[in-house]
Amino acid sequence: MSRCITICPIGSVEKGILEHISECISFRCNLTCRFFTGMDNPKYAYNEIRCQYDSKLILRHLLRECPHDTLKFIGVTSVDLYVPILQFVFGLAQIEGKCSIVSLRRLYPQFYNQLPDPDLLLKRVEKTVLHELGHTFGIIHCRDRRCVMYSSTRIEDTDFKQPAFCPTCSELFKWHLDKSLQQDP
């Protein structure tokens, strides 16, 4: 299997953010990235009662569109996502699968009525992407609040954790990565 991760913008997404994601993945995981042509705004997943998009429907769509020659497929969107039972999600990922999706909506400081802060935004994006990527490699939530695999319920959790795996999750990541690379495409 190639060492390549495919990043797919869903609806309009700032180019700078997509490039930052690519750099972070290359730097933190030693994997290469490429961009998918992009998908339209996911109208099919809009829930009028919640005024949010159903992340599971989008994930299913990603599954159908996923290229065969990629290690992982990450959808990035600016729309607000939810999943049944939870009020919102920062991201959703298949556990030990290929696809995941990340919402930027609640990562912007402006969402919390704060001033724009590009550095803070990019840090949050990095942690959220690494976290979902970790899930697709088969890592589940970590109890260590500083580990990137700690589950964020609030943005404060994301801000508190580091953009890196704790020693245990790091070992797991390497192990899972080696296993996936050995598999045939």
Partner: protein, 309 residues
């Protein structure tokens, strides 16, 4: 830890906390009450009483060694040395009443004022000192949690108040009717204690504790949703006279254990609601009304899994 040390050295009682009667009497220099002034079931009080009794024996055999420890008097003995007008009633120490002097050598068991206060406080709800959010569910600090998502809280006079936790309240959603046990009914920890109705569905709920029902929250008859709005305070369900308190408390989750328990339950809940895809989600608290969100799904399966009935 540092802050606590500092407080101890300065003998400052933090807000919301109260001095232990042993501190008030001056037998020990710093000790806060962690048992709602129910000395009759307090482990610390029992331990101190034993210690004093042992020191008194020692005083006869080895007077010099024992005198050094100074633990030769109980808090009552120490208080009784004070002039009569300075013997504060225990309800004055706790701030429950303004000024009240003990007329009866601290024999609270036979004091009618004590009895009156006990009854009065029985009807009132104690405020929650601190709350925390765990995986989007609220936990009240210092409450004991049962795996069937009820809580138990020992109170004044040794009674134990019982209610639904935030997880159960959200899972069942807007409560239709709560069928509480009757006063005098005998309950057992881990056995069905009462039931809840919602849209024609019935959920049986386990009792967190062994005991005899002493009070029920009558307000829930007209306003069952009090248990939604304020599940740790005004939405309490009933109070019991416990019969195996110490043993029962060991079977309940407390503090760190309670937090871990709720985290695990949240993952389980998410997986059950989304078992069509093997996914992990990261995000906000659960919706306020989970029942509504999963309507049409197998409700019985959720009840069985989380209320354990």
């Amino acid at each position: 830890m540092g802050a606590r040390k500092k407080r101890e050295s300065m003998k400052i009682v933090p807000p919301g906390k109260k001095k232990c009667v042993w501190m008030e009497a001056g037998v020990v220099s710093y000790k806060l009450c962690d048992h709602n002034y129910d000395c009759s079931t307090c482990v610390y009080d029992h331990g101190m009483q034993d210690k004093v009794a042992r020191h008194k024996e020692k005083l006869i055999t080895q007077p010099i060694a024992a005198a050094k420890d100074k633990l030769t008097e109980t808090w009552v003995e120490k208080m009784m040395q004070l002039p009569a007008n300075r013997r504060k009633c225990r309800y004055m120490i706790t701030g429950e009443v303004g000024r009240k002097i003990c007329p009866s050598a601290y024999e609270c068991g036979t004091c009618s004022f004590d009895q009156m206060m006990q009854e009065r406080m029985q009807a009132e709800i104690l405020p929650v000192h601190a709350r925390s959010q765990e995986s989007g569910f609220e936990l009240a600090e210092d409450f004991y949690y049962h795996e069937g998502h009820t809580w138990a809280r020992p109170e004044y006079g040794g009674r134990v108040r019982v209610g639904l936790d935030d997880f159960a309240q959200k899972l069942i959603g807007k409560l239709g009717r709560i069928e509480l046990p009757n006063v005098g009914q005998v309950l057992k920890q881990g056995e069905v204690g009462f039931q809840i109705r919602r849209n024609g569905e019935v959920a049986q709920v386990l009792s967190p504790i062994d005991g005899i029902v002493a009070h029920v929250n009558d307000k829930l008859k007209d306003q069952p949703d009090l248990a939604n709005e304020s599940c740790y305070e005004t939405g309490w369900l009933f109070a019991v006279e416990p019969t195996r308190l110490r043993k029962n408390l060991k079977g309940l989750y407390y503090r760190e254990e309670a937090r871990n328990f709720i985290n695990e339950e949240r993952e389980k809940l998410f997986n059950l609601a989304n078992d069509d895809l093997q996914v992990a989600a990261d995000g906000g608290s659960s919706v306020e009304d989970i029942f509504k969100e999963i309507e049409g799904e197998n409700w019985a399966r959720f009840v069985k899994t989380f209320l354990r009935t």
